[in-house]
Symmetry: C3
């Protein structure tokens, strides 16, 4: 119940971030719905395809797809409002991230997969939606640069897995993962925590090559 409610909040918020990215690329309504849906349910889709977990969530429950399309279209109408209240979105997006991670972890656990794969499943579910959004909209993938995003999914997945492994009641495991993950994400945003960045200069040859490729 709780998880389903939070999941719907999460996909709605993610769909809206997708629609905003589509708007920046001047896409039409269809593009808006596509990017919104890819952002919101793309992570779960990639996870299910990688794990061979059929039918996909939105194929079994098409109403989720309807929600993401409507949320995308709605965003075109209320875009100014959305942009102004973007702090609300950071909160909803954080909830979505943790919920997606918990669901991803749990599906892999239900399939009897090893611990590493359960945590990878959490991370994939949490971040691949945003990654697909940035690929389709040809943006620099934010999840690979921004404040601890994938790391929060990793922590949430590991924490949930650990507690389930220790036979903590599911409700307690879910709620405490939600709280810890949410606080970690908010703290990362607030104080701009980041993972160390690996910077490598391009050689001048490569720069020239890129210049040529661009023209």
């Amino acid at each position: 119940m709780l998880l389903t409610t939070l999941y719907i909040i999460g996909i709605t918020a993610e769909a809206m971030t997708g629609a905003l990215a589509a708007g920046k690329r001047h896409m039409d309504w269809f593009g808006v719905m596509l990017v919104a849906s890819a952002t919101a349910i793309g992570g779960g889709t990639v996870r299910d395809v990688l794990l061979g977990h059929y039918p996909l969530g939105w194929v079994a429950n098409p109403q989720y797809l309807v929600i993401t399309c409507l949320a995308g279209l709605l965003t075109t109408v209320i875009a100014k409002w959305v942009v102004r209240f973007h702090k609300v979105f950071i909160i909803l997006d954080a909830i979505g991230l943790i919920v997606f991670s918990i669901i991803g972890c749990r599906i892999a656990m239900d399939m009897g997969l090893p611990a590493i794969i359960c945590i990878v499943s959490a991370v994939v579910t949490g971040i691949f939606g945003g990654l697909l959004r940035d690929l389709i909209c040809r943006q620099q993938p934010m999840v690979l640069h921004k404040e601890l995003y994938a790391s929060v999914a990793f922590i949430a997945g590991g924490m949930y897995y650990g507690m389930m492994f220790l036979a903590v009641p599911e409700m307690i495991a879910t709620i405490s993962t939600l709280v810890v993950g949410f606080v970690a994400r908010m703290a990362a945003v607030q104080w701009s925590w980041r993972l160390p960045v690996f910077k490598l200069e391009e050689t001048s040859d490569e720069k020239r090559g890129k210049q040529v490729a661009r023209n």
Copy 2:
């Protein structure tokens, strides 16, 4: 029979548009074959992976893959001719779009999936080939901007599904969907019908960020 013939025409035309895009990126022969095949059979591949519909069409029928590779290579030889007669291609591409949509809808129906998913399956089959082409060739995805393209796939899928649901004989459903879809697509090209576009200005911060990312 009819559908198979039109399908082969469709993948040939799509493969050629893929080869032209590869040529604009100065790819080698292998790249041409890859982009041609991704454009022509990528939509069906994405659909089958999403629906868990194995084996994929081209794995079961490798001759389709041979056709798309040959069509791609042929395009390198007759490129000038192809570019000059590009109105013929708009027609062949429109036929392909409708045929792909009908096939996509039907496969989902044969799997017993709900109406929404059948129509989504039509749209995915119709447009993901072009989307993959534009991602690999790093072009602005045309299906998300151009004249009603995805919408035509949507209409064709919905119409075919509706008629099959109403027990219209398959031949009649197929032909009338082909005619209506084709006319809709041609009209959209002729009069530049478009879906409304969602434009959102980037903030100056983002513009600067992009500038940095590009350099």
Copy 3:
């Protein structure tokens, strides 16, 4: 045994090329691990998804995923050394390419698929890792431009398939494919052998369109 050893060398080398590409895009540690893993095991993943060959290699053997993540992180420490000894990498990368192709061919053969699909499986396994790396890092896809890369995978796949078909003992088939493929790849690098390139000029309209899209 031999193939497993060479496979581990191959994924390590590929993961390192992925990490270097991530470094050029200033990604954080997580991004480095993602790109490293996508480069090293992305080809096998795409192959398994296309063939419906579940569970995926790294899901069944998570230790490979651990290796690629560690190789990626290690690269951030020893990047200067890696760049300096990049000739070693060309060798390791060539070994990886052939090993991936052999494994891809063999998995398709074990599934009883037709010859064309076995060779396509070899090529997909060999090149899709590099293709994913270049898509995520938004580089011009190198495998579609560089010296015979996909072609070497094609030759290796075809040779291995042919020898197995002719009932050549597996050890001999594997080793001779490795030797021939490796020599072909090294020769291609040494003398810059390339497939012919298909160049098509963009029309001035398209150039303008691209200019607009970029701004």
